[in-house]
């Protein structure tokens, strides 16, 4: 590179840099305009169509893309020396001096004569050039437009988020969210009631969060993704509480003997939980029975041998039931105390065992209440998601919320409390309690009717004390032709009618009447 070329490069470099910065600024402004316009359109669409608008999640990505884009744009927008020279020529009115000089210096052959004169002329012109004047960096119209769009977007987030046009899918989705919000408030309230009634600590602790989430869903403007996030948070909290309780139950039952095979209980978490509940319930009943007997024995003079015998039987029974080891240890302690004639100690040990079992029962109740609430919150999430997808929105909009847990029909395999959603329901008629997983549009085969017998009960009324006055009013008839010409019914219809008449327990007089009617139409069916 010649000395002149180096000098010209040095003089033009600030202009190149400023032009690149200005171009990158324009690029960034346009990118922001595009992004903000896209987000605004997206936001506007959410008022009509139930699509999520995760602005908070998108913003970091958009910002990162803009930063990377700006860096790339600064490199990409960097003009060549010739372009910068030509821009400077135009803006400073240099009549292509700099552009020609750059071109001449870039040629393979060494410039001579007039070319040298031209380069000298260009260098003196470039020296007098003020880069700030030639390549000013100012806020472009695009930048103002980008700012305006960003403010508009912020305004939408502040004042317009969650708005939905009534009657549109988005409006229906908002209605669904509000309804599920009410349902969640109810779920929370029931959880609270259950917790208070059964002294269930985890249920009491979780109930306010559920109610609060429900209230948030009832807010006038709530977005789909926000609603889904709220409900999922509730589901997560309930799940965490339920898992915690479950772990404690498992710890307590760890020493218990598992139920012997062949009892019909499914080897599933739900089945095991039902088995635990049964065991605890049976153990508690047995304990209460013996504690009652002990109290009666204390009062009526129950002998120590008898007491020890019954405690041994209870211990064996608890062993067979697979009751928790702590309970069995307390019962053993009570038996040994009874054998030693220490009735007081025996009674205290039995009290300990009973207390342990009651605590365990509370934990089981806690887990069941949390599980019920979680399932209902999950159903709410599914309904909101379904409404967002637009599938069955109209139908779901008219369905009531899950105010009550689904009722299982009576059968030989009832739904066990605490059953997990991942567990398929046990087989049996009318036992389905979970949403189907099928994707087909057709309904399945009708559920077979239960084989029960129908009994008709009627209340016989008594005649009143007063007189009855019956008055018959006969209006004047008018002869008119039939609206439809009479004709013989088709053979298959006639056959069906005949069959129906022979099957149903109709009074013979009615049968005759119907037959006569069809006869008048044109023949005996």
């Amino acid at each position: 590179m010649t000395e002149e070329a180096r000098e010209l490069h040095r003089l033009l470099r600030p202009i190149v840099r400023r032009l690149a910065i200005a171009a990158a600024g324009r690029f960034a402004a346009r990118a922001i305009i595009a992004a903000a316009a896209g987000l605004l359109v997206w936001a506007a669409v959410t008022a009509v169509v139930p699509v999520p608008f995760p602005l908070a999640r998108l913003l970091p990505w958009i910002a990162a893309a803009l930063v990377i884009g700006a860096v790339v744009a600064t490199r990409w927008c960097r003009p060549s020396l010739l372009v910068a020279a030509r821009v400077a020529d135009r803006r400073a009115g240099l009549a292509d001096r700099l552009g020609t000089a750059v071109d001449l210096l870039g040629r393979a052959d060494r410039p001579a004569g007039l070319a040298q004169l031209q380069i000298r002329d260009a260098l003196s012109a470039a020296t007098a050039l003020e880069p700030r004047a030639v390549a000013p960096i100012r806020v472009s119209k695009d930048a103002w437009l980008a700012l305006a769009l960003c403010l508009l977007l912020a305004g939408w987030v502040r004042f317009g988020a969650g708005l939905a046009v009534p009657g549109t899918p988005a409006g229906r989705m908002i209605a669904t969210i509000h309804r599920e919000g009410r349902a969640l408030v109810d779920v929370g309230r029931r959880l609270d009631d259950t917790g208070r009634a059964g002294r269930l600590p985890e249920a009491l602790r979780a109930a306010p969060a559920v109610q609060e989430a429900g209230r948030r869903l009832e807010a006038p403007r709530v977005g789909w993704d926000d609603a889904m996030g709220q409900v999922r948070d509730v589901v997560r909290q309930l799940q965490a509480a339920q898992d915690s309780v479950r772990r404690r139950i498992d710890q307590a039952m760890a020493g218990g003997r598992p139920t012997r095979p062949g009892t019909g209980t499914p080897d599933t978490p739900a089945g095991r939980r039902a088995d635990q509940a049964q065991r605890v319930d049976a153990a508690r009943l047995a304990l209460e029975d013996l504690a009652g007997a002990l109290r009666e024995g204390t009062g009526t003079g129950l002998s120590a041998e008898e007491l020890a015998r019954r405690l041994r039987a209870l211990s064996d029974s608890l062993d067979q039931l697979g009751a928790p080891s702590g309970v069995r240890a307390s019962v053993d302690r009570a038996r040994r105390a009874a054998e030693n004639g220490q009735r007081g100690a025996s009674s205290a040990a039995l009290g300990d065992a009973l207390q342990d079992l009651q605590g365990l029962e509370r934990m089981l109740g806690d887990e069941q209440a949390l599980g019920d609430a979680r399932r209902q919150a999950q159903r709410s999430a599914e309904r909101i998601a379904q409404a967002a997808r637009g599938g069955g929105t109209a139908q779901s909009a008219q369905q009531p919320g899950p105010d009550t847990p689904s009722q299982a029909a009576s059968g030989s395999n009832p739904i066990t409390p605490g059953s997990d959603d991942t567990t398929p329901p046990p087989p049996g008629p009318n036992q389905g309690s979970l949403a189907g997983r099928g994707t087909g549009g057709n309904l399945g085969a009708p559920t077979p009717r239960l084989g029960g017998t129908r009994t008709q009960g009627r209340l016989q009324g008594l005649p009143g004390p007063g007189s009855t006055h019956v008055r018959e009013i006969v209006g004047p008839g008018r002869a008119a032709p039939a609206q439809h010409p009479a004709g013989r019914p088709p053979a298959d219809v006639a056959h069906e009618i005949d069959h129906a008449l022979s099957q149903d327990p109709l009074p013979p007089a009615y049968v005759t009447l119907v037959r006569r009617y069809f006869d008048t139409l044109g023949g005996t069916p």
């Binding site: 002149e4 020609t100 040298q116």
Partner: protein, 343 residues
Amino acid sequence: MSNADRPAADLAAHTADEFRRTFGLVRGELSRVIVGHQELLDLVVTALFAGGHVLLEGVPGLGKTLLVRTLAQALDLRFARIQFTPDLMPADILGTNLVVQDDAGRRRFEFQPGPIFGQIVLADEINRATPKTQSALLEAMQEHAVSIAGESRPIEEPFFVLATQNPIEMEGTYPLPEAQLDRFLFKLRVAFPALDELREIADRTTGPEPAAARRVVDGATLRRFQAFAREVPVAAHVQEYAARLVLATHPEPAETAESARRFVRYGASPRGLQALIRAGKVRALAQGRAHVATDDLRALAVPSLRHRILLNFEGEAQGIEPERVIEDALRHTEAQTAPAVNA
């Protein structure tokens, strides 16, 4: 700039100064005689230094012939005038072989050169001659030589043809063929003088001693300057501008100017591009620059290209002037060649 290069640059600077001074002198001598028409005078002198011929168009009495005569006075060159008439024959222009008898009584053919062998040739009212006679100028204008009886006879340099013509709408005129038009560097329109100019004309021409031009440059100097002007560098982007401008006068290219697409049958020829660049170099030097700028091309586009654009029927019917096509082409080219920074 290295010291070794400095003398060459200084010499070029000196010659460029001399060029500009001489250009100004010739221009000044013309102004002493010709009233007004400043741009016209600039362009005539530009064509002279570029070594191109000029076609002057205007109604009679506007000083076209006076302009050429004054130019011939300002230059120390041989002047010839051809008055074109309908019965003028090519031989009247080029010359002919005559049978001459020497003192010994022997007869031989001797070439009698015609007025075309002058250095400044005024082809007055060129469109009054038939196309055949007009075409006699073709070779002389392009090759600076004349072929007669199989022998090529060079014309002494510098050779400068200034033709005048009346507007073709006037009776008794023959439009110049396209090939002939293409030989002219510029086609200049001589406008009617304004009121002040008319008064000035009256002052200068009706007094006791009409103004006359002095000789300020000789043929050798003019030839040197013509050669020097050819050395003026042209940047690639300026050349591209000129080429795009010429292309924009054509109807065929996909990215041509709209008016060219609608109204032009044939656009400017490559000679138009050459004319633009050659004249641009002279204009640059005259303005104290050592390079051609796009401003030069813009200023010279109309006189360089207007006679090279052939309008189609629609253009003729709508009374479209080639100037409008050129203006449109300039705008189009400007948009195409503007330096753009990405984004």
